[in-house]
Symmetry: C2
Subunit: 144 residues, 2 copies
DNA sequence: CTTGACTCCGTACTTGGCTACGGAGTTAAC
DNA sequence: GTTAACTCCGTAGCCAAGTACGGAGTCAAG
């Protein structure tokens, strides 16, 4: 049987998404990826939708989400009932927006550094810490 | 000796930044946080700058940076020579901008879901995977 | 119908990032 | 000046996220 985009062996699937076979099996055990049925004891086959799902897992991971959190995001993708979905989505949205704000501040600081480096050819530092402190509440002894 | 914001014991430092004492010592071993000198065999003291640095570590971690990468970011903060800094900063900037783009797409998908949930009170799903696929090169067999 | 590459599945090992433990020393409060 | 809480430092253990291994089964090409 040929190995088209809708008929991938696990090895071709892994190559298509740029991960190892063992990682795929690991994600399946975690419930993040489906385990297609084996035709009468044969081998499982995967399709483009699986590749997309796996790439999403890797992208989300890079954005700082744990596999458990990614599982929650995938439940949203898969469509859950509205009440449940909405609460979860709002929670994730808050998280994503905070990350966006922090990353944007980091972007500003880094691009400032690059610009400074381009003009004056001297020793420069980069106020990364200070830029991320803006917009965070200063911590007191009682706010845990 | 009192425990002011510029004269923190490690315990107060940990509480101020919301982490455990052992984590601080771990970051010190990794070179991410300084180990202040011990006054004639006494105990180390920490200040507000250390708190900021530690909070930066935690924030960056949440944004998907590993401790090694955070070490690189801190080298930028601390000011290295321009040539080196610029290359590193440009590299990190590229990474940050990719993350920003992905997070923004995720934000769009999630806020769309929340909006949909607010209006129709039905079963909805959330095209997270599709939204993140836009702007990614479709993978062929030769582009690794 | 064999051969070589691949799949399946279980188990074990590894790495990154902490967390716990414990004995010896330090400090602050009484 | 003793006591309770805290610090120091080394070592060990833990959890998340994989990675490696290996024997048995499957598949496709010759």
């Amino acid at each position: 049987m040929e190995n088209t985009l809708e008929n991938l062996t696990i090895g071709a699937f892994a190559r298509a998404a740029g991960v190892g076979i063992e990682a795929i099996r690991f994600y399946q055990r975690k419930g993040l990826l489906p385990e297609p049925a084996r035709p009468r004891g044969g081998i499982r086959r995967y399709g483009a939708a699986d590749v997309g799902r796996l790439q999403f897992v890797k992208t989300a991971q890079r954005l700082g989400f744990s596999l458990d959190e990614i599982g929650e995001l995938l439940r949203l993708e898969d469509g859950t009932h509205c009440a449940e979905a909405r609460a979860l989505a709002e929670h994730k949205l808050k998280d994503v927006r905070e990350k966006l704000a922090d990353l944007a501040r980091m972007e500003t600081a880094l691009s400032g550094l690059v610009r400074a480096c381009r003009s004056r050819k001297a020793n420069v530092s980069c106020p990364l810490i200070a830029s991320l402190q803006e917009g965070k509440k200063p911590r007191g002894k009682d706010d845990d």
